[in-house]
Symmetry: C2
Subunit: 251 residues, 2 copies
């Protein structure tokens, strides 16, 4: 593996969105608590506060930027793992990448149904046991702008995702350990109005599964065969964490 990495026959693809104060964050209906945006606070910069060193403090939401959703994020998984208790062995896993870029370009409210996944499986083989289902939607191209990324109007946000029945199927009947998306959260923009509300969160967390969000560069991954390293910070009692997410791809 080391020699393959060195020779470039294994490429490392960075799936992580850069973290800054312009990283988009989810906006919930106003009656609910809202997440912090990412902020830096300088401690010293080669100055009298520290002549030879530069460093910062920072503030963030656990669910800001490219992040990992742990089971206890949702009430359905409230007695299951916090983000620090997710077994390390589950952080390195294969990914299946399903491409719905064309559908999402035509309809920002596009929802993946179980049948879409079954058709994909006919061509690519079964979803990976213990791996990730990654939804490619082209939404990463919008992440430079909170407005384009959330795509909200008077009726709320419009971003693609899974139908409620598909979320239930992925959680309860498929062999994957989690769902990875390019959007601000694992649920579709209209997920707040679904039954159950936020079905991906509700069903996946309740099934001891995980979420990964705001992924970039899924276009650089093959449909099958990549291995993903998801690196959330092990925040004790945390419900999730910004995460570094890297993929290994054989060339």
């Amino acid at each position: 593996m080391v020699s393959a990495l060195r020779a470039g026959s294994i490429e490392v693809v960075d799936l992580t969105s850069p973290l800054s104060s312009s990283t988009p964050v989810i906006q919930l209906p106003p009656e609910f608590g809202q997440t912090a945006i990412f902020e830096l606070e300088e401690i010293s910069r080669y100055d009298d506060r520290g002549p030879a060193w530069y460093w910062n403090n920072f503030r963030s939401g656990e669910h800001t930027g490219t992040h990992f959703d742990a089971p206890n994020h949702w009430v359905t998984g409230k007695d299951l793992a916090d983000v620090a208790s997710v077994p390390a062995q589950r952080l390195i896993a294969p990914a299946a990448v399903l491409d719905f870029t064309a559908e999402a370009a035509k309809d920002p409210d596009f929802l993946v149904e179980v049948d879409h996944i079954k058709i994909w499986e006919e061509h690519n083989g079964p979803l990976p046991d213990g791996g990730w289902l990654f939804l490619r939607t082209g939404w990463d191209a919008r992440s430079h702008s909170q407005e384009a990324f959330l795509n909200a109007d008077e009726s709320g946000p419009h971003t693609p995702g899974l139908s409620p029945e598909c979320a239930r199927w992925v959680a309860e009947e498929s062999p994957v350990i989690g769902l990875g998306v390019e959007t601000v959260g694992t649920d579709a923009g209209r997920g707040h109005s679904f039954d159950p509300a936020f079905p991906c969160h509700s069903y996946l967390m309740g099934s001891d599964k995980y979420g990964l969000t705001q992924l970039q560069n899924l276009a650089a991954l093959p449909a099958t065969g990549s291995v993903v390293v998801a690196g959330p910070l092990p925040i004790v009692a945390g419900s999730g964490s910004p995460a570094r997410v890297l993929a290994l791809v054989e060339r």
Copy 2:
């Protein structure tokens, strides 16, 4: 690789210290800016602030807990990479683990010299080109307590590390991309009084190399042959970041 992970012939060892408000942080002389400790702030917990979900904001130093030092952390590397610009390919690399547990137990101010490394190389082969030099000192056993971990008295902190000449050699003459340690920072506790001050930071950052700190479980790694995934958050303009660090070990 996927089948080896599944079959357990590749084990994932978590080298990351858990993050909480009791995670130890470095204490600099009082005239300098100090880092934040890690803190959580609850947004909602299955309550009126968010009926179905639990999540937090958090505050941290870039150099709190298990963290990655980028070249721009030090004035010697101030025009080199910020933590978001470190190439992803360099985040997956082999590690050499040098064990000085016995020496550090006898003398908390123990310093590794170039000759110690040369003797290690006689038995284990050369340090890995493009890989990490990991210093095992047993210091991870002290990380439950800020006091035991910093081990300070009137004369300042006493923790093991590299001599100034060894730091220069690792930075300028060895093939590694960085130094990983179990202590609060890459420099020895007495590093503030060395010439140059904090020589590991000064030489490594100045050579476009990296640091990794507060590693745990190095005892579970072989002397050679493990592959380490270092996952700092890609903080734009950041000098470093808390990082998830995982090692792959063939059994």
